[in-house]
């Protein structure tokens, strides 16, 4: 979505008025791929039925939601997908889809165009079938996904490629860039690998180290910090989050992000969260109305009350401008919605270094270092526990 003055003004007003104008709904966690980095449990534990989802959509329309993203899991595994899309369009939502596209043929692409779906985001991990298919664990998946992209393009639909980067496909960003150029579609490279929704951290092993990410972060065509601001004008920034609504703006000012302010996430089971990446349960639509949860949930209001300037560690950070701290990941990885977390600090230091800052140190790292130093002052009660030089 273009970041225009009109959009910035709207974002400010929706935040001020607490209008949930962008909502991400996962219709299912079931999937026909088994991506190695996926954070979901693919079993169906009682998805909302067609009528339940329609009821939710009506509530969202009444509360002011405009941007609706259907995602999953794989949305085309829902037999009622087109019924839901048709219903959503009758309520005048702007609709984006996130899909692996394996089940999109020319007929389905035509239907999506007829329903005026605005954008379809599709994950591609590499332009090399062996690499892509090894991540999805479905042989032939790249070929099928590419065929689907062409069906969608033939209908004139806007397609965007999302490429989550991990150890297994780190060098693929070049060929994904080339593929996107060949197809004439935008792309986003996403370096975020998150823990599983149940808190299992094992997926984090798939993350590339910051050292491994250096060539990507230094690439001026990808990272705005690696080039002069003037050369960025008119360019599409290609690094970001594949899970975001795509409505980015400086208008969020002192709030960490849109989560809970003008956007939220709804699971296939009706659970409402501030964001798909923020495991703060705020209510369930099978028991409460959306308005009840959105406006009156204690947890939603707790998330909403957070201000960047009040973050205990990060607000003091001298390299904050180079950081892309995500409050949801702070909760998942650091256990504190308000806290700093290692990955963000590492990346901020790397980005600052690339931008020319000498010896950048995040506030969290500085605090740890100070605490180590202060603990090294001889004190009989703590001295045996000090491990000088350890990480």
């Amino acid at each position: 979505m273009p970041n225009t003055p009109v959009m910035d003004g709207l974002i400010r007003r929706t935040v001020q008025r607490q209008l949930p104008w962008s909502v991400h709904v996962d219709l299912t966690y079931r999937c026909n791929e088994r991506c190695i980095h996926c954070y979901l449990d693919h079993e169906d534990h009682g998805e909302m039925k067609t009528q339940e989802i329609k009821n939710v959509l009506e509530q969202l329309a009444q509360t002011g939601t405009l941007f609706l993203t259907f995602s999953g899991g794989e949305i085309f595994l829902r037999a009622d997908l087109f019924e839901l899309l048709e219903f959503a369009r009758s309520l005048h939502f702007d609709i984006s889809l996130k899909t692996n596209a394996l089940l999109i043929d020319s007929e389905r692409a035509r239907k999506l165009r007829e329903l005026s779906v605005r954008k379809v985001q599709i994950s591609i991990y590499s332009a090399e079938p062996d690499v892509h298919d090894a991540i999805t664990k479905v042989r032939g998946s790249l070929e099928r996904t590419l065929a689907a992209i062409r069906f969608l393009q033939a209908e004139g639909l806007q397609v965007k490629i999302a490429c989550p980067l991990m150890k297994q496909n780190l060098t693929a960003y070049r060929n994904v860039q080339a593929l996107a150029a060949e197809l004439g579609v935008p792309y986003v490279l996403d370096m975020t690998i998150t823990p599983k929704m149940d808190g299992d951290m094992s997926l984090l092993q798939l993350r590339s180290s910051t050292k491994e990410l250096l060539p990507i972060l230094q690439d001026a065509s990808l990272n705005p910090r690696a080039c002069s601001p003037s050369s960025l004008e008119g360019e599409t920034i290609s690094m970001g989050s594949a899970t975001s609504s795509g409505i980015e703006s400086q208008a969020y000012e002192d709030i960490p992000c849109s989560a809970g302010h003008n956007s939220c996430y709804i699971s296939p089971y009706g659970d409402v969260f501030p964001c798909v990446q923020m495991p703060v349960a705020t209510g369930n639509l099978r028991k409460q109305t959306f308005e009840d949860i959105w406006f009156r949930s204690e947890e939603m209001n707790r998330v909403r009350a957070v201000r960047e300037s009040q973050l205990p560690i990060c607000s003091k950070c001298s390299i904050r401008q180079y950081c892309e701290r995500c409050p949801g990941l702070a909760q998942m990885e650091g256990g504190d919605l308000l806290g700093a977390y290692e990955r963000a600090c590492e990346l901020a230091e790397l980005n600052a270094r690339i931008a020319g800052v000498a010896n950048p140190v995040s506030a969290m790292h500085a605090e740890k270092s100070n605490s180590k130093n202060s603990r090294s002052i001889p004190a009989p009660t703590v001295a045996p526990e000090v491990r000088i030089g350890s990480n």
């Binding site: 979505m1 273009p2 225009t4 009109v6 959009m7 003004g9 709207l10 007003r13 929706t14 008025r17 209008l19 104008w21 329309a61 002011g64 939601t65 405009l66 005048h92 939502f93 702007d94 609709i95 005026s116 779906v117 605005r118 954008k119 004139g156 806007q158």
Partner: protein
């Protein structure tokens, strides 16, 4: 222009804080209508220009010619951006 006025059915829209926000799925263009245009968007659907002229001139006590000129101008602006159209009259 005596056919019915209709919104472009491809568009997504929602009222945000009193103003109509409209998005085109084809180019992701965002339009925000002012107060008058938002009212027109909400109430003109399915009406003819003649019907709207009658209603506006009665409700706001303005001359028919003035109401017609203003509405035509508004409709032309919305039509130029492909937001609203006057449907061709059905020939009976």
């Amino acid at each position: 222009m005596s056919g019915e006025i209709t919104r472009n059915p491809k568009l997504a829209w929602r009222e945000v804080d009193g103003a109509m926000v409209i998005i085109s799925p084809e180019d992701s263009q965002v339009h925000e209508l002012n107060e008058i245009a938002s009212l027109f968007w909400k109430h003109a659907e399915g009406k003819t220009l003649d019907q709207l002229v009658e209603r506006i001139s009665a409700e706001y006590e303005v001359a028919r010619e003035t109401a017609r000129a203003d509405l035509e101008e508004l409709l032309a602006a919305l039509g130029e951006k492909q937001l609203m159209f006057v449907a061709p009259e059905e020939k009976g």
